[in-house]
């Protein structure tokens, strides 16, 4: 198995450029098919322009730095990415959250814990009485002794931990996330279980994320959860709360994989054919604001990675944040959005339909 060591950007990959990614997605690149515009699917449903419902989640991407180089990563994260949120930008987030009815703060990356101000930030957010989700890649807990106490830190601040585990076997996990990731993830899950995470009655939530290790759609979430629960308990004595099934969106490294493996057209066709109007109603961008490492605002983390900022004319940076105006914005759409509306739908919290 060949483990990637560098981000697409560090390798000089053409698709590290968001402009080229958008050209591919819109059928303007050589040898890629053009598909029906996503917005045309929403028009008959009276969902265009797509408007927010209530903004409930403040998702902050604290940086692209990561200890892993997963093949499907839409962030193009990795050890060579140095773009991380500064403490001053974190303070801007805190100023907004302090006066905001938004109850949930979702921390993502990269590996959010690698940001040197991560723990300070968590403590400050918690002091505002917000619910915190940390999207932890698991292996970071074992990556360096300074991270070994993360389970205790998460527990102390009652953080909801959401962690990727693409399968309950090493082969499918490592093929997506790198050699040795499964073994390290199992070790990390055991340490989370040890402090109470995922254990019934503990009040400490540990949710897992499944996403397909290839150019296919995820299985039924409930059925996968049953399989994962049985296999992880029987083989490794590991427990968790819920499993979120997430579709891979054709952005960044997953888009690069699709194009270079010759799977792009078939995968897009699959997403388009599986368009589900119910899933379209419940897309996560309707209740989320996504904040980039440099303080710019986006409709979701995928738009962020495609550099599709909040609609022109709207306040697009933390420095001029205005919740009321954001509630009335038109959400920016593009062809990658088909990933969130295919089949049972997909969001950072799993199925939506």
């Amino acid at each position: 198995m060949k483990t990637a060591k560098k981000s697409l950007l560090a390798k000089g990959g053409q698709l590290a450029d968001t402009f080229i990614q958008l050209k591919v997605l819109n059928g303007q690149a050589q040898n890629t098919k053009q598909f029906e515009a996503f917005e045309d699917k929403l028009k008959p449903l009276n969902l265009f322009p797509l408007k927010p419902t209530d903004i409930e989640i403040f998702q902050i991407n604290v940086g692209k730095m990561c200890n892993q180089v997963c093949k499907h990563c839409h962030v193009d994260a990795g050890p060579d990415r140095k773009e991380i949120m500064t403490q001053a930008t974190m303070q801007l987030c805190l100023n907004i959250l302090k006066n905001s009815p938004i109850k949930t703060v979702d921390l993502t990356g990269g590996a959010p814990e690698m940001n040197p101000n991560f723990r300070w930030f968590v403590k400050e957010i918690k002091a505002l009485g917000k619910h915190i989700i940390d999207r932890c890649n698991l292996t970071i807990i074992n990556a360096n002794p300074k991270y070994n106490d993360l389970p205790e830190f998460f527990k102390e601040h009652e953080i909801e931990v959401v962690s990727s585990l693409p399968y309950f076997s090493a082969s499918r996990t490592d093929s997506q996330r790198g050699d040795g990731v499964f073994e390290s993830s199992i070790k990390a899950l055991k340490s989370l279980n040890t402090v109470g995470y995922g254990i019934e009655g503990s009040g400490l939530t540990l949710n897992l994320v499944y996403n397909p290790s290839g150019a296919f759609l995820p299985a039924n979430q409930q059925s996968l959860e049953q399989q994962f629960k049985k296999q992880l308990l029987d083989k490794y004595n590991i427990q968790f709360n819920s499993l979120f099934a997430i579709t891979n969106l054709p952005v960044s490294r997953f888009l690069d994989y699709l194009v270079s493996s010759g799977n792009y057209d078939d995968y897009m066709e699959k997403l388009v054919n599986a368009f589900n109007p119910t899933a379209a109603q419940g897309v996560m961008c309707r209740n989320t604001i996504s904040v980039g490492w440099d303080g710019f605002l986006y409709d979701c983390d995928f738009n962020q990675m495609l550099d599709l900022k909040i609609e022109n004319g709207q306040p697009a940076h933390l420095s001029n944040f205005n919740l009321e105006q954001l509630q009335n914005r038109n959400i920016i759409l593009n062809q990658h959005c088909y990933g969130c509306t295919a089949g049972a739908g997909s969001s950072c919290g799993g199925e939506t339909a």
């Binding site: 076997s169 499918r172 397909p212 296919f216 299985a219 039924n220 059925s223 399989q227």
Partner: protein
């Protein structure tokens, strides 16, 4: 006319069989859809059975379709290969069981 007997693109045109008999095609596709719904067996188990049968009947369209379908139902290569061995065992066994017939016949015609 294609130069080969099998063209992977034909799989997407399976629905075209309705062209010359829509009534029977509709009945077939409705029944086909019902067969694969979650029931006493899970959708994943049914997909693995379909994958095994695809190998037993050596249908390349079905092998492509049910490889992807098995993955999309949450199976992995280990489970899929075990299912194919089941198909292989039945096929092999079906040949070998006729060895008894051979032995019976040989006995009948031998001194």
């Amino acid at each position: 006319m294609a130069d080969t007997y099998y063209d992977p693109k034909d799989l997407k045109n399976f629905g075209n069989i309705k062209d010359h008999n829509p009534e029977l095609a509709e009945k077939f596709f409705n029944w086909y859809g019902a067969v694969f719904k979650e029931g006493a067996l899970t959708a994943r188990e049914k997909s693995l059975i379909a994958l095994a049968v695809s190998h037993a009947i050596q249908c390349p369209y079905c092998i492509d379709a049910y490889t992807v379908d098995s993955l999309e139902k949450g199976a992995d290569e280990e489970q899929m290969m075990e299912a194919i061995h089941v198909a292989g065992a039945i096929r092999g066994g079906a040949s070998l069981i006729h060895g008894v017939q051979m032995m019976n016949k040989a006995k009948q015609v031998s001194m």
